[in-house]
């Protein structure tokens, strides 16, 4: 079929395939750069769908949301506009691991994102299922849908999430289906294989949903939202909503017995599932088997929204048969009468090996072809959205001839996420964690704007007028930091023996900002959204300085470039596996090379000695 004889749906700077969290961020980023974009989705109803947990944020994930927001993205704004509960987790555990988490109204979240996209002039939302990526001479040209329509574009971003050749498994029942009973995506996987991509299979799962009226809340522990909560985005405007509570309860010995007695009926243990599941989000049957000596497991009941009775059973992901799910639920404290609305399920889907991508998330084989989100082997809405934004900015850069947009591991969680994926690849759905960030003390929630907003302006995804606001913030921060260093605190004020300064007082581990405010009431003048950053940067100055030294060491490895075109196959001192991996990834620096799985430090040492040889 020649290009001329078919119906052409349009010619764009960019086409985004899929309108999940990655796709929406990607399309919006491209549009913010002033470029035209077509957002193709199999179902317009499924735009920004949250098929699993009704929440956004948490450790590392919340940080990513703040970074997305600093780069002008959607997720933080949408979470602010749709939350039913806002909480900061990990308070008291350290400055950089404190994490904002929103419980959201799923429908409100979708509606918010859809409205923004619909109101964005450069975005054309189109319903259709993409079955083919059209390429020509190593260059992407567009896509073709199942109806034969051709869409042309300079760049294409593929964000198929968990839909590609997906199967939903409950007990012995296996159905070709996307999440939530939506259509799977057929044909594209075969097309990608034909184009030379290497694909794999992953598995993830979701717990059952139950009816609110069947829950005995009086036997559970209530978890309320924070009263003086903070938000993800400085752009969101919403009156304080009524916050809904979540509820904490536990499994019992009976739950364990039911699971053990029915393990043979589990598709996982019966070998029905080929894809690898996430270690950090295991199913309840997995937890019972792997932590056999643990008497009970925590279960959180989370509302799915304001105007629905559905409640999400967090910590209870399962693919056991429906009847087992019901008995399991009814063995949980307070769920004796549980009325199950949707059963939990496992879902299996195709993903591409992300080591086939550059740090810009662009294919190494085809110019202009990008991949983002769960198709790259990640898990989680936030990880998907972050990649979508990143791919969107890079597609825009490609379309306009700008240099790629890349953040280092020492600059952003986004940098950690992308570098981990394209350098190491993944054998299980990849989840971001604060421990994956070597320099987390610098990658805080409170300084996300300061870190990234200027980069967003430079990349063209943030309006330059926002810089003025940032500059003002910076002046305020500097002013108060200096003030704290100079503000004398008398023994009468502090109860200490000697006169000290407010900064020195704050640097005592046991003194919080709140307590300091009692000593120095004028600190109430500090605007709320900057107080945390000022407090942290003063209180932990010593630790932050130490982390900066580490970053310096890291930068040396990152900036020590490896020339392109090294013939790895001839360096016999490097293990065979490492030679293949190095040749495949083609790392740009020693830092990147050292993070490739299968490449040992000994291999790196050989490479260093080999490349610095004086006679070449």
């Amino acid at each position: 079929m020649s290009v001329e004889s078919v119906y052409c749906g349009g010619d764009f700077d960019c086409i985004v395939v899929g309108a999940g969290h990655a796709g929406c961020e990607a399309a919006h980023a491209v549009a913010r750069m002033g470029l035209s974009v077509a957002l193709l989705t199999q179902s317009v109803e499924a735009i920004a769908l949250m098929p699993c947990n009704p929440s956004v944020g948490g450790p590392a994930k919340g940080h990513v949301v703040a970074e997305i927001d600093a780069l002008g993205g959607l997720m933080g704004y949408a979470a602010d506009m749709s939350f039913v509960q806002m909480r900061t987790l990990n308070t008291g555990k350290g400055p950089a691991v404190q994490a904002l988490r929103a419980q959201t109204d799923k429908r409100l979240y979708q509606q918010t994102v859809r409205e923004v996209l619909e109101k964005t002039p450069n975005i054309r939302i189109v319903q259709g299922s993409v079955v083919e990526i059209v390429v020509e001479a190593g260059q992407v040209k567009g896509v073709r849908t199942h109806t034969g329509t051709l869409y042309l574009a300079k760049t294409v971003i593929v964000t198929t999430g968990t839909y590609m050749e997906s199967k939903v498994i409950i007990g012995s029942s296996t159905v070709a289906s996307g999440p939530n009973g939506l259509l799977p995506s057929y044909g594209l996987a075969a097309n990608l294989r034909a184009l030379g991509f290497s694909l794999g299979r992953l598995k993830t799962g979701t717990p059952p949903r139950i009816h609110r009226r069947s829950i005995a809340f009086d036997r559970m522990e209530e978890q309320r939202g924070d009263e003086g909560y903070i938000r993800f985005s400085r752009r969101s405007v919403r009156l304080d909503p009524v916050q809904l509570s979540s509820w904490l309860t536990y499994t019992t010995a009976a739950t364990q017995e039911i699971i053990r007695a029915n393990l043979h009926r589990s598709p996982l243990y019966a070998g029905l599932i080929a894809g690898r599941g996430p270690r950090y989000c295991p199913s309840i049957e997995d937890k019972v088997v792997r932590f056999a000596d643990k008497e009970r497991h925590q279960i959180f009941l989370e509302p799915e929204g304001y105007d629905t009775a559905e409640v999400y059973v967090q910590g209870f992901s399962t693919s056991l048969p429906e009847d087992v799910q019901v008995s399991m639920l009814r063995s949980v404290i307070g769920l004796e009468q549980a009325e199950m609305i949707r059963p939990g399920y496992a879902i299996e889907y195709d993903f591409i090996d992300p080591t086939q991508l550059t740090l810009a998330l662009e294919s190494k084989m085809y110019e202009g072809l990008f991949f983002a989100g769960q198709i790259n082997g990640s898990s989680g809405y936030e990880e998907a959205a972050g990649q979508g934004l990143w791919a969107g900015i890079n597609a825009g850069a490609r379309a306009t001839g700008r240099p790629p947009f890349i953040l280092l591991r020492s600059e952003a969680y986004l940098g950690v996420l992308i570098d981990d994926l394209v350098t190491k690849g993944t054998g299980e759905p990849y989840r971001l964690m604060t421990s994956r960030a070597e320099h987390r003390l610098l990658l805080r929630f409170d300084n996300a704007e300061a870190r990234l907003l200027p980069k967003g302006v430079e990349a063209g995804v943030v309006a330059s007028r926002e810089l003025a606001r940032l500059r003002q913030d910076e002046e305020t921060v500097i002013h108060w930091k200096e003030y704290l260093e100079q503000r004398k605190v008398s023994p009468q004020e502090s109860g200490l023996e000697h006169t000290t300064t407010a900064a020195a007082l704050l640097r005592r581990p046991e003194i919080t900002w709140g307590e300091l405010m009692r000593v120095a009431p004028e600190l109430a003048e500090v605007v709320v959204h900057l107080a945390q950053r000022i407090a942290i940067e003063v209180k932990y100055a010593g630790y932050i300085a130490r982390q900066c030294d580490v970053v310096e060491r890291f930068q040396r490895l990152e900036s020590k470039a490896i020339p392109q075109g090294v013939v790895y196959s001839e360096i016999s001192g490097i293990s065979l596996e490492a030679r293949e991996k190095l040749a495949h990834v083609q790392p740009r620096s020693y830092g990147q090379a050292s993070r490739i799985s299968g490449v040992s430090p000994a291999d790196i040492a050989v490479l260093m000695v080999y490349l610095e040889k004086p006679h070449g």
Binding site: P59, A60, A96, V97, S435, G573, V606, H615
Partner: protein, 450 residues
């Protein structure tokens, strides 16, 4: 790997029983055969066999009798084709042979290039390469034994053990931070502290062997201190001369010190004379004092020399005072003359005479005792490498910092961050943490032909 042919004399300069010229690289056999002639022709060199023949000069004239050995890669030291020509000792013949090899297409090897190629071809690990330097350099049994231990991986095992402890603490803390709603049992501050103290002790114990390790590698530093003309040089000469195994006797690194190395009961002893320190005038007096102090600082043992033939002077008292806390032997020199010096109470001295050798055997025995005690250490393994000792000292302070963080009541995130720093730093010893200077540092220490 494709590589050019390198050649070098692999035995030490100077007179010796044999000299070996080593040739390595693709074509080593072809080049080697061009300078070698066997009685029976044609010569088919089978690998790993030794052939007797003659080595020839530029004009095909025989230079020397020669043993020819061909090691076929990868089963050779470098992993490449290697030819070794064993000649009669003396650098002259070896030098001539090397010159001829260079005209036949070989290139003079860089320092450490043979070992580097062995490393690049996977014949040696980085840690082993480091141990090879120590073996080449070892000048005493103690140093050699210790390098052998390192080559067998003893150090790596100990470092891995310490890191495993740190990793366990990290894993626990990180799980609490990343999974706040997963009721992971908290690791208490006390438990973290206990683990850290344990690791701190392990690091400290290893770091404490640095001195013993240095003694094993560089020798026990014995400094001779005393006024001018008290007899330091004569004592040094008699001590050095009395031992048969003089290793070197050369002017020290500064003009003002003279060093001699002797091997006492398998332990290397470096005698350092601070001669001339106080022989300058007025202003320089102070500088001289400073130098003496410096020399004393670096000493393992101080020999305090007092002139026995005359009453003690102010400087003598000063010196006795300065060295009160040090490991020292007080000597009354010129014991062949009448002893006039009176020692302060509590100070014992050995009377010696360079002229009559009186007291010298006893002094030699004491030094030997101290030397052996210094290297016997507590642990089985001694740290001999400067890079290792630097990392251990840094790790020690990082573990201490982590303990301070725990003790002061800072949040566990900061504890976890500190522990990670210690964990990463420690890994630089074994190369598990990559650092740019490792490879450079190691191969910079080699000399040509190794």
């Amino acid at each position: 790997m494709k590589s050019d042919v390198i050649a070098a004399i692999s035995t030490p300069r100077g007179e010796g029983g044999i000299a070996i010229v080593r040739v390595s690289g693709q074509g080593a056999l072809r080049i080697g055969k061009q300078v070698f002639r066997r009685a029976r022709q044609p010569f088919r060199a089978k690998p790993w066999r030794v052939y007797l023949g003659e080595v020839m000069g530029q004009d095909a004239e025989p230079l020397d009798e020669c043993l020819f050995t061909y090691f076929r890669g990868p089963r050779s030291f470098t992993g490449e084709d290697v030819v070794e020509l064993s000649l009669h000792g003396g650098s002259f013949v070896a030098g001539r042979v090397l010159e001829v090899l260079l005209t036949k297409g070989a290139r003079l090897a860089d320092p450490g290039e043979f070992t580097k190629r062995a490393f690049l071809n996977g014949r040696l690990s980085l840690a082993q390469a480091e141990a090879v330097i120590d073996i080449i350099r070892s000048e005493s049994d103690a140093a050699l034994r210790n390098a052998g231990k390192q080559l067998r991986g003893l150090l790596s095992n100990e470092v891995k053990d310490m890191r495993a402890h740190l990793l366990q603490v990290m894993a626990h803390l990180e799980a609490q931070l990343d999974f706040p709603e997963h009721d992971i049992p908290d690791l208490t501050r006390a438990a973290v502290a206990t683990r850290l103290i344990q690791v701190g002790d392990m690091v400290a114990k290893l770091a404490a062997t640095v001195r013993a390790g240095r003694v094993a590698r560089e020798g026990l530093r014995v400094v001779l201190a005393g006024r001018a003309n008290v007899g330091k040089s004569s004592l040094l000469n008699s001590l050095a001369g009395q031992e048969r195994a003089i290793v070197t006797a050369q002017p020290g690194t500064t003009r003002d010190t003279v060093e001699a190395q002797v091997n006492v009961n398998g332990v290397l002893v470096t005698l350092i004379d601070t001669a001339g320190l106080r022989e300058s005038e007025d202003m320089v007096e102070k500088i001289g004092m400073k130098r003496t102090l410096q020399a004393l600082d670096n000493a393992d043992v101080v020999l305090v020399l007092l002139d026995g033939s005359e009453p003690l002077q102010e400087e003598d008292y000063e010196l006795l005072n300065l060295t009160r806390e040090r490991q020292r032997v007080v000597l009354l020199t010129k014991a062949d003359l009448a002893i006039c010096a009176e020692l302060p109470t509590g100070v014992e001295a050995l009377a010696v005479s360079a002229k009559t050798k009186q007291g010298l055997p006893a002094l030699g025995g004491q030094i030997a005792d101290m030397a052996v005690r210094a290297v016997s250490g507590e642990g089985a393994l001694l740290i001999t490498n400067l890079r290792h000792s630097r990392i251990l000292v840094e790790t020690q302070s990082l573990v201490t910092a982590a303990l301070d963080t725990v003790g002061a009541g800072w949040e566990i995130e900061l504890v976890a961050t500190d522990v990670r720093l210690a964990y990463e730093r420690l890994g630089e010893i074994t190369g598990e943490t990559i650092s740019l200077d490792v490879a450079d540092a190691i191969f910079a220490e080699f000399c040509i032909g190794k």
